[in-house]
Symmetry: C2
Subunit: 253 residues, 2 copies
């Protein structure tokens, strides 16, 4: 199994604090040492980093921990291989383009007997069940809409598609096109919404805390979604099994 | 106009030496300061870095200069914006997936009145003539072949497609799927093949030289393709106008 981290904000925000705790789980405080990845939207553009070294030891992860890339939509993943060898092409998140937009996807879980017919423009490069599921979702999205649908319309489509994939096993996933963050839980997913008045937060995985009030303005809103809560003193909400939520401008819609 | 750098090798090789000289042109020894990017294949997998800061000042470029990522196929680009604003989505190289392979493309030049009908699965995310040309090439490749063709077959297809785009202006480009490096020149492109016996090389853009004999084995072969020669003491060959060359395992085929 793997771990997922997503962030959705109303103003470009750096993910350094959350990523620092999350990356510790990539080989140090937890055993997800088979690679990692992170994708940051900047408007329509995308920065995408993947590495098959453990996140806790990767020079690229070191860069992310110290270079505050600001983004309104971030998806990160640390991998414990269940299907597919440890290789760069099997590291999440995966990226495809559809309707002139990049789409980023990461998955935690394990799908059994999931071999859908991929007859369209999206084919997996690696050998994971996760990338196969992503390609199928992109294919079905492309069939359901002629262009980028509204967030509400796409949420309806994704709810149907997620349920079909989830019938094959555990399907916790995150998806973003830079406008919203969709998150679906089969088992473990938690979120917190940070907003004014901002408080102090203590990382669960490292002896580090931050006073968000010092780095934010009263209008800022940030939603963080993660496999297991990252901080010990915030109110995290667990997803219900089978629940798909969409986050826009730092809040659950 | 922009500058291009490509490397194709028979064994995974780091691009630190060539990139160090090349990145200096991104704002220091030359005026290509509107962003940059680099993509490294590792097998079927891909590392893709883009930044809209000048390459000579970018923290991500600093990482690349010091972290010897080894690859058999690399494409890099430093940008001087002619069409499209300075934004992350307009930084080359661009990436798309086709036939279960990633394809990486970078362009130097300027295309006039190039608005082909993009009716298939490849749509530009940004606003450059370059990404439009890439999407059209991917579309036409997908129409010409049912799956990944041989290098020789694809070279024939690309020669036809490149000539059609080049009728709209300057179309120096590089393309790779991790198996080969295709390079097409309208105006400026040069290459060198490094092989045994390896010699000393002196960078043109920085006071740095390297003795390749110390870091290579007699079987290594490396081809480097670039807009303007990177070293002052090697025999660079200029492309003829309209020439498309393909490099496999470190040599021009």
């Amino acid at each position: 199994m793997c771990q997922l981290l997503g962030m959705n904000c109303n103003t470009p925000t750096d993910v350094v604090f959350s990523f620092t705790g999350f990356a510790e789980r990539g080989g140090r405080t937890d055993h997800h040492a088979d690679g990692w990845g992170i994708a940051f939207f900047e408007g329509r553009g995308l920065r995408h980093f993947v590495d098959h070294e453990p996140a806790c030891a990767s020079p690229v992860a070191e860069l992310i921990r110290h270079y505050p890339i600001k983004s309104k939509n971030v998806i990160s993943h640390i991998r414990k291989a269940t299907q597919g060898v440890v290789a760069l092409e099997n590291c999440h998140p995966f990226v495809r383009e559809l309707w002139g937009r990049y789409w980023v996807f990461a998955h935690n879980g394990d799908l059994k007997d999931f071999h859908p017919r991929l007859h369209a423009a999206f084919q997996p490069v690696g050998s994971t069940d996760s990338e196969r599921a992503f390609c199928w979702i992109m294919q079905e999205m492309a069939k359901s809409h002629a262009g980028v649908p509204s967030v509400a319309e796409l949420t309806i489509t994704l709810r149907e598609l997620a349920a079909r994939v989830a019938s094959h096993g555990t399907f916790n996933f995150m998806l973003s096109n830079g406008q919203a963050l969709w998150a679906h839980a089969s088992t473990h997913l938690h979120y917190v919404e940070r907003k004014h008045p901002f408080a102090d937060a203590q990382l669960a995985d490292e002896d580090l805390h931050i006073d968000f009030a010092r780095t934010t303005t009263p209008d800022d809103r940030v939603a963080v979604v993660v496999t297991a809560p990252l901080t010990t003193n915030e109110a995290w909400t667990a997803f219900a099994p089978g629940e798909l939520k969409v986050f826009v401008d730092g809040r659950a819609v």
